[in-house]
Symmetry: D3
Subunit: 162 residues, 6 copies
């Protein structure tokens, strides 16, 4: 059985991330979405909130689980008995970074392979930091993330202003 880990910050999850999760769920027997909980770098949503927002969005996928982690991705992947780390790629700049990380991860854990899936064309310009910024400036982001995320984002950003 091939188990794949899909790690990220997911601050918050976007339709681009969900697209990759659905693709991975079709290719692998089990997919573990791994929410990076790194307290030293501030996030808009807590790790718990980020896990919950993903969970609400993929209730129909029976072979996907979500959990937060800290430390090295490869150590987490080993504890999950995973043999693949999934990464979504949108464009060149992404690829360069992924390539470097893949080489480092392969050095640290030769038994786990990095698998790159390509995000759907319609989500090429969607990344979490841009989603947060456009939402903060009052732009319409309803097509970039699922409804529960949009609602949470508005609540969080409204809360911040007051």
């Amino acid at each position: 059985m091939t188990i794949a880990v899909y790690p990220g910050r997911f601050d918050p999850v976007t339709n681009g991330h969900l697209d990759i999760i659905r693709r991975a769920a079709k290719l692998f027997e089990r997919v573990v979405v791994a929410v990076y909980d790194a307290p030293e770098r501030p996030t808009l949503f807590t790790a718990g909130e980020r896990v919950a927002l993903i969970r609400e969005s993929i209730q129909d996928l029976s072979n996907v689980s979500i959990t937060s982690f800290h430390g090295l991705v490869v150590d987490f992947a080993r504890r999950q008995n995973a043999t693949a780390i999934v990464r979504g790629i949108r464009k060149n700049a992404d690829f360069e970074y992924e390539f470097e990380m893949a080489l480092m991860n392969r050095k640290l854990a030769p038994d786990i392979d990095v698998v790159c899936l390509m995000t759907d064309l319609q989500y090429q310009y969607v990344r979490a930091s841009l989603l947060r910024e456009v939402a903060r400036l009052g732009g319409d982001v309803t097509s970039l993330a699922p409804p529960n995320v949009i609602t949470a984002l508005r609540a969080k950003q409204g809360q911040r202003k007051s």
Copy 2:
């Protein structure tokens, strides 16, 4: 069961290709190496020769088969009941081309996903056309392809000169 197709010209197969085949064989239940037989574009080795050179190199992999094909990759993949097309990536320029082809393939066959694996660091500079050229100019290519391929390459290139 996830079946993956790994298409290419393999003229001839290199250690870089074999690295990707071995990685794919660990991730997927069955891997079909698909040798592109396009008579309109000349190759050094015939399709039959290219299939045989790969077959000799991966006899230890029980879940890998090799076959030649022509026409669209996605049509071949569908006939094999594959849900993944595997591509090996070495560097940026590769990625750009792969990205474009992945989008076109997705348009033609939304049910089949493209999966990119990253070639091992030591094979980053190995591609079949460079292998052929260095061999033709008398360079030492023994670390770039398996022994049977090196032998066949020398025979073929010697044959050509005479």
Copy 3:
């Protein structure tokens, strides 16, 4: 009045090209689509056919004209009193080439500026050579070019085989 020239081989015109023509027609007073007629490099369609296929596709755009040319783009642009050369950009590799050509053109004609427009997301993977190849291999290309082009492509490629 700003006149813009949009040069290319258009062998044949794709939905990506038409997307750029429509964008240019909104930005500039007059747009001249310039079909490059370079007899030394073979094309599937004659220059006359390429002009006709574009003309049929943009009959609703009153400020766009189509003509074939040979020689340097900047010389043609000057004869049209154009101050802009329009280029459509799809991805990085395109951009590098365009950048180099823009610098050369600027050297040859400092009074004419190169303007890059970005092709719509849905046409990112559409280029004429890939369109021709997928059509030749029997793939469904109806969403990549207008109906008159698809018909002409089938006629031309059927004709070639027989």
Copy 4:
């Protein structure tokens, strides 16, 4: 009449920015230079200072106006009845970022198009942050920005040290 907005932080305006403004002023009927006033991200010059430095540098261009704005670029562009957003491009990395922003802006405002102009060769290495850093370290930057900007930069950086 085609109105174009040229947005940026301009902290401070460089000869590269001025090159793009002059190119845009020749292509479009009216150009609005839009100085991004985002109090949450610190700048060396205030928005008012950045507007004034540009204004002093382009007094000879009768169809260019300068104003500061906050919020989304596309919302500002709409209020100006603009149909084009102008961006200057220097190199690949710029292009990738611009491409992503162009796609996001197109999603937010399909009626406004992004137009990329290429900075003159001699300003390829000029960006405001590098200008600030080289000036701070005592390098000669007189060819990278107009005299009023150089004077203001020295005053501001001298002021900071004391």
Copy 5:
């Protein structure tokens, strides 16, 4: 006699840096490793510590000296009578940045040339910030830097936690 300066932050020196120093030492008569001491940007190791860690690692190279500097690289290079600035390149993103800096440096000091050497394949994924992060998360970094650096890194990071 060609004197080359190899500038960087070296926070701390990695096997990739040392690979470049050794390559430069074979090409040039004298190599000055220049440790950038910029107090305004925090580093893990002090400038003195960074100089010492490099010195310990290259005691066998008689034509290499190490010193810290602040200000512009080209001003430092001139004071050393250097005619070359050496830069190690790992991948594309590196190259873009180096290209821009090379153009700026050439403007500031036309008499000093930038020379790019390519890091060995096995160190392509090694950069100091990634080394620090992997070490902090408990990963095995013994193959990425010399023993004295690994020891110093553990001491520094252990010290920080307590």
Copy 6:
């Protein structure tokens, strides 16, 4: 003494090539310009003509010699006792190709290092194939190559037409 080889096709030599030769001549004790004579790939000028055009252009450089070669660059470099292969880099696409070749050359000859120099800004868009094409179409190329090359190019291209 560091001897450097600068290999290329030089069909014909451009001002960009000459810029790199002059930079290399300042950095290394001896520079050997190596004109690639590969009869299997057609060139506009013969190897002898290409050597002569370079020789005429650099008579003032006493430490530069020019010769034609065939076979592998690293084999030629070894016969010259060279420890460096010089490459000029203009932009990203160049860099990717150079990187791959550098890795292959390092595999074939670990004792010879590849050194990349950056072409002057004003020659960024100059490459021999573009020079030939613009000249053929009647464009003014006098600033892209030295006078003797321009004269030879006109003679050769006029000769071809008749």
